[in-house]
Symmetry: C2
């Protein structure tokens, strides 16, 4: 029961952020999305900034839960499932409105250390999971041992961030990209085809 | 002489954008960066929006000139030179302030068709040049013929966009990414090593 009001506020913040964007986000419009008054919200969070940092922590929990839910016994299947979740847009994944707002937040990061520190955590979590999956795949004999886990993780993390930016900026569909990455994994990472040299 | 005042205004817009960001960009702060009054700027551009669309066209010319300047006789060297320019930050390339402002602009794109149309042109230009370089490299016998030019171009375009977003959002250095991409090209695209299957 203890954290229910803050949970209510943070869920309302999500809805308000999707509707109004980050620049226009106010305690007033968050209150309009919740059962609580602006004054009640103010009781829990003294400023928009304080609320927003708590909101990023709340998002981080959702993000890590979403990423962890892609775990599979086979590293190959795990990687495929992770990329599918992060490169697809459907009912269960964040939509363009949310990604648009988050792009505003990213542009704000150089001016706000607390925001930037949180965004670094999101990126690090994704990078580490991909790195672990590749390393586990090498150990399991699924991925070619000459593949460098941290380098693949860095490229995949950057591709995922780039696809989300392009989705917002140029209304880009990630479907074909997902296919290309899957094909890259099949051709260049998996040990069964890596020795054929057929590219 | 005819376009000198607009050139003065557009260069001032660049400086004002880097200093204030897109949300805070006004004709007033553009005037402060130029030799012209706000009224004089207003004579050439009726609104911030009209000026900004002209500014994106001006940036597009600079962008295509920068990309075209990477041309080399060998497609392999051309690709390396292009990626070096787009994945490096130094005196000659746009700095973080400019990329931060452009990230704001990208987040604005879903709400403004004129801006989005221009951003699509930037992405299409980059994609087409990379696709042409890969295709030329296959024709020249430098790149493996099983490589699909449009798929590689899509992935590289997305990596470049992602690296610029991460540079702003998480203060990411593109140095190691550049090395990884170069190594990928050496190992997977070039025909001399592609047949070895050594990854």
């Amino acid at each position: 029961m203890n954290d229910e009001p803050t949970s209510e506020i943070l869920n309302a913040t999500y809805r308000a952020l999707c509707k109004h964007g980050y620049a226009e986000l106010t305690l007033q419009c968050i209150a309009a999305e919740s059962e609580m008054s602006k004054a009640a919200i103010h009781y829990y969070y003294e400023s928009k900034n304080e609320l927003f940092v708590a909101f990023l922590d709340f998002l981080y929990d959702r993000y890590t839960t979403q990423i962890d839910s892609t775990a599979r016994d086979s590293p190959r299947e795990h990687l495929r499932s992770l990329l599918e979740v992060l490169l697809t847009t459907d009912e269960d994944t964040p939509g363009t409105e949310f990604r648009t707002a988050m792009l505003e937040v990213k542009a704000q990061a150089p001016y706000d250390d607390e925001i930037q520190d949180r965004l670094v955590e999101f990126g690090d979590y994704l990078f580490e999971r991909i790195r672990e999956i590749i390393a586990a795949g090498i150990d399991a004999g699924e991925f070619d041992e000459s593949v460098a886990p941290s380098r693949i993780a860095e490229v995949f993390t950057t591709i995922i961030v780039g696809s989300h930016t392009r989705q917002v900026a140029v209304d880009y569909s990630t479907d074909r990209l997902g296919e290309t990455i899957t094909s890259y994994i099949e051709t260049h990472l998996l040990i069964s085809t890596a020795v054929e040299g057929t590219q």
